[in-house]
Subunit: 209 residues, 2 copies
DNA sequence: CCGGATCTCAACCCCAGGGTTGACTCTCAG
DNA sequence: CTGAGAGTCAACCCTGGGGTTGAGATCCGG
């Protein structure tokens, strides 16, 4: 029984290449090809394939989101991610989203076929690099030091991270709201933040909260 | 070119079974069989195989230590671990020690063959359970406590926590901005949040980011 | 004593974001 | 078949937050 596969890649060359490549492999049936994530999800719903082979970076909907959708709506269909860069951060995200396998685009036909077969059989194939990163865990946690920020700015950042509004922060620090806004603007500029939501994330990553 | 394999298992039945099983597979050559870890290391040194298929629990030298030795002294030889219990703690240890793949003893012949081929090609095959455990190791607390929120709301919350604006979230989920705002309003009401800054903090405490 | 950094404050503009209401569709359990 | 929940979308209002400029007060090191 052949493994039924849907391919999704926005680059025509890659997509067509994959399709013709996979068609030559025994035990692999390419039943559809999508050019973006949205279409990929639709085709999965339509054809109920064994495996979705999906690129990470795509317009309309990226591979991570497509993976999440497919795993949520069609748990029978396994997802194998294909990407250009093995050190892409979203690789881990994709695996957490439920991707079964992971391949780089320089993989040869046999490797791809093997990964598809494995995924269909419930096994999981990942690239050596990714495996190492998984095993070592997220120990990379960078030391994005708080340096550059003045004590007052750090203070304000912490309060932002607690969900306080500007007026609340002003009351808390016993200064005017204008002052708070000034600190916040400096802080945003220094840390390259757009709004307080990003600031909260920043603070949490720094371990301020 | 066939993949040259050395098998190591202390149980005679399993060992002989594996050998005969693997000999039936195309592209696999079993060139030696060991009954403990010490012997396995010796046979690897002697035959320089592509892959060592090794049981975790063995007398004289267990699979983890054998893996470490082989990876240190014969980096050309990949190691695939075979064991009875997928929840064995030493599984992670073995992977850290440099094992390329991981199989349970209820794997069928094709799965084993695939894992050996993959290992020889530099890929890594792991059992689904093990993959899940590896991934959970890198994530924080599970999102089980996100009770009350619908999947879509959780999705939106995660994206908020990444610092995305409403328009960006809409683009990402391929819906209109109005829909995003609706989800956000529901989400805020349920979780008793005032603005997205508090939402980010909430998400981080839940381990969503 | 001067320059720089920090902290403070004000007035202004503008829009993203949050609140509200209402509506259409689909699915699924009862 | 019906009602509830989920997801989708639109129109409206209005405040808070972010951007900008400019400026006075304090402190410290060179």
């Amino acid at each position: 029984m052949s493994v039924r596969v849907v391919v999704a890649d926005d680059q025509t060359v890659v997509r067509d290449g994959l399709v013709t490549l996979l068609k030559l492999l025994p035990g692999i049936d390419v039943i559809a090809a999508a050019s973006d994530g949205r279409e990929a999800v639709e085709l999965v719903a339509e054809h109920d394939p064994d495996v979705l082979l999906v690129d990470l970076r795509m317009p309309a909907m990226d591979g991570v989101e497509a993976t999440r959708r497919v795993r949520a709506d069609h748990p029978r269909t396994e997802v194998v991610v294909l990407t250009t860069y093995s050190d892409d951060d979203s690789v881990l995200t994709a695996l957490r989203a439920g991707a079964r396998g992971f391949l780089t685009k320089d993989a040869d036909a046999e490797s791809i076929g093997r990964a598809l077969q494995a995924a269909a059989a419930g096994q999981s194939i990942v690239d050596a690099d990714v495996q190492r990163r998984l095993i070592e865990g997220t120990t990379k946690r960078v030391e994005a030091s708080v340096s550059g920020l003045t004590p007052r700015e750090v203070e304000v950042l912490r309060l932002i991270a607690e969900g306080l509004s500007n007026t609340e922060i002003a009351r808390h620090l016993v200064v005017s709201e204008a002052t708070v806004k000034t600190h916040i603007n400096h802080l945003f500029a220094k840390a390259n933040l757009r709004d307080r939501a990003q600031a909260v994330a920043y603070a949490y990553r720094l371990g301020l909260a």
